[in-house]
Symmetry: D2
Subunit: 192 residues, 4 copies
């Protein structure tokens, strides 16, 4: 099922089809995120809205729909935000600073949702995984050429997607009384 | 001069007219901010985009244009983000949680712009003021009735606009070698 | 082997005996920590020094000795600080505030040691585990009666020691290129 | 009046003499702080205890005594912790890392005392000032030679003591309903 997460209609359609085909959502992993390789003083409102639409609005909408699906069926499900190490520090790379800002917002939204679920006496869990650089198509999509992206991943210490999955499984497999709040994980050789 | 800060064209027009009429911008105070009284699980993408457009996109656009105006004329100007105490903590009020997220983003953007200006060897300053609740039209605009807003300001300890101005003046009047990074200020009786 | 970790001589003796009997230290888990049930305005310098001696000084000394042992033998070992959720937030319980302060210091020391190891081009890893309340003898040792401690653990959501071990194993079993920086984990029903 | 702040007896004597000679304490500015120029892996328990005794224990003891003096006389006084920019970030200088840890603890203790005073319904204020490098005898006392210290202050952007005083006065002169929580202030050219 393909879905442009920045189109609200497509997101709502996706959740409707999941309900029809599968009954509903038990686990929602908000993994999508993007950046644009421009400093704050070079960026444009178009860039910024595109990044916010994916990193913040889609994350909030998918979360809202997933929680609604869980509540509807009385499922104690699990929301997982794939955040970033940049949600916890501000590496001195201006071209990633706007992205870093959105991830600080995700850090706040993680704790905020936890508070809201606890106040509603819900058993639904919320966790974040905050990895350092992961070797994916991320840098290319942010505007690097394939060659530049390949070279950066060779030169900079990076994680593999499987490493993030390992932490995801750790959070997901915790017993009911345990809520992993955040797993911050870096390439071992990472400077920032 | 009136300007809807969430309309990029109007913002660019405003800066063009400032240039024409006044020569340019020396000090830019990003004061506008809004919230919508809904929890994360009640909010809508429309609400979220409206809040992000003002609290984040307009702040970034005005900052970019103001810095460009300063550089153009060789002025060592000053950008001031009016952030919020909610940029530094997450009060347990779900109806303000999305707003809180945007303000955490502003906290990160403040340090991010500082880094970018330092790396460019610029003398332009960036400061934030992070006040607790200020008695303004904020709560009414966020969706409270005038009566509810009035009552909340009576019941909750709050600052006056002049208190924020006092801190603003402290930041603005610092000598050239001193950069106030952030002034966090609360109503003395505030719990959060 | 018994060791009062607040006595430097005993700590150094312990490491000497480990070297003699086992060759050295490959993994060092700084687990010991204590509190005294008094607010900041009720505490005494004696209380504070006792808490600092265990939560900060012993942690730093054991870390220093363990890293020295690893370097001596060319072992890419692992230091793990058992921090606390109170290293990341400040729950509104004055009787735990001094303890909370020491844990904020441990959060800073975790990142600080990471930076120092990276600058030395070392492969030794440093991780933290930051759990919420764990059912142990902690509350009793902090000055609660056995009855009060038992009741608090019944009334307040808490983790079991095994839950912390699970996160510890996740951090320890990461492949060489992956460094878990911090796992923040709470009782699922915890308010703070 | 001379007082070695790391000797509890001398601190208690000082407050006794203030009471006798002046009636009591209305404003307490916890300004003393020290570092030792050694990385975490080079430091000694003696260094660490000396730093903790001044930066944490003396600060807590003076605060406790000052608040007691204010309460005794029904004075709505003011405690001010002179913290550091290193209470809010972790600059990549291993020789200052232990100091940085103590200042993160002061950041936590500032908010902690605020909570304790609010819960006690007290009007006593607590503020922090968190400056970057200030040109004082600090570096020399931390173990630098006078020449090295002088050179460092010439090469590194730094604040003057008067700049800190300016922020102090801003915090102290706020009206009763306003509590400055923290003023973070850097040399304008500072990188960290």
């Amino acid at each position: 099922m393909k879905c442009d997460l920045t189109k609200d209609d497509q997101v709502l359609d996706m959740f409707a089809r999941i309900k029809q085909d599968l009954g509903g959502v038990d686990v929602c992993i908000n993994n999508a995120g993007m950046s644009v390789v421009k400093s704050l003083l070079e960026g444009t409102p178009e860039d910024w809205r595109k990044i916010l639409d994916l990193n913040v609005v889609a994350l909030c909408l998918c979360t809202r729909e997933a929680v609604a699906s869980m509540k509807e069926r009385g499922v104690d499900g699990h929301i997982i935000h794939i955040n970033s190490i940049n949600g916890h520090c501000i590496p001195p790379q201006p071209v990633s600073h706007f992205y870093t800002g959105t991830k600080h917002m995700v850090t706040a939204l993680t704790e905020a949702l936890r508070q809201e679920l606890r106040q509603a006496n819900s058993n639904i869990k919320i966790s974040a995984i905050s990895p350092g650089l992961v070797e994916t198509e991320f840098l290319m999509r942010a505007g690097r050429t394939p060659e530049a992206a390949r070279q950066m991943y060779q030169e900079m210490p990076s994680l593999q997607a499987d490493d993030v999955t390992d932490s995801l499984i750790h959070a997901l497999s915790a017993p009911p009384h345990v809520q992993v709040h955040d797993i911050i994980v870096r390439p071992a050789k990472s400077v920032n």
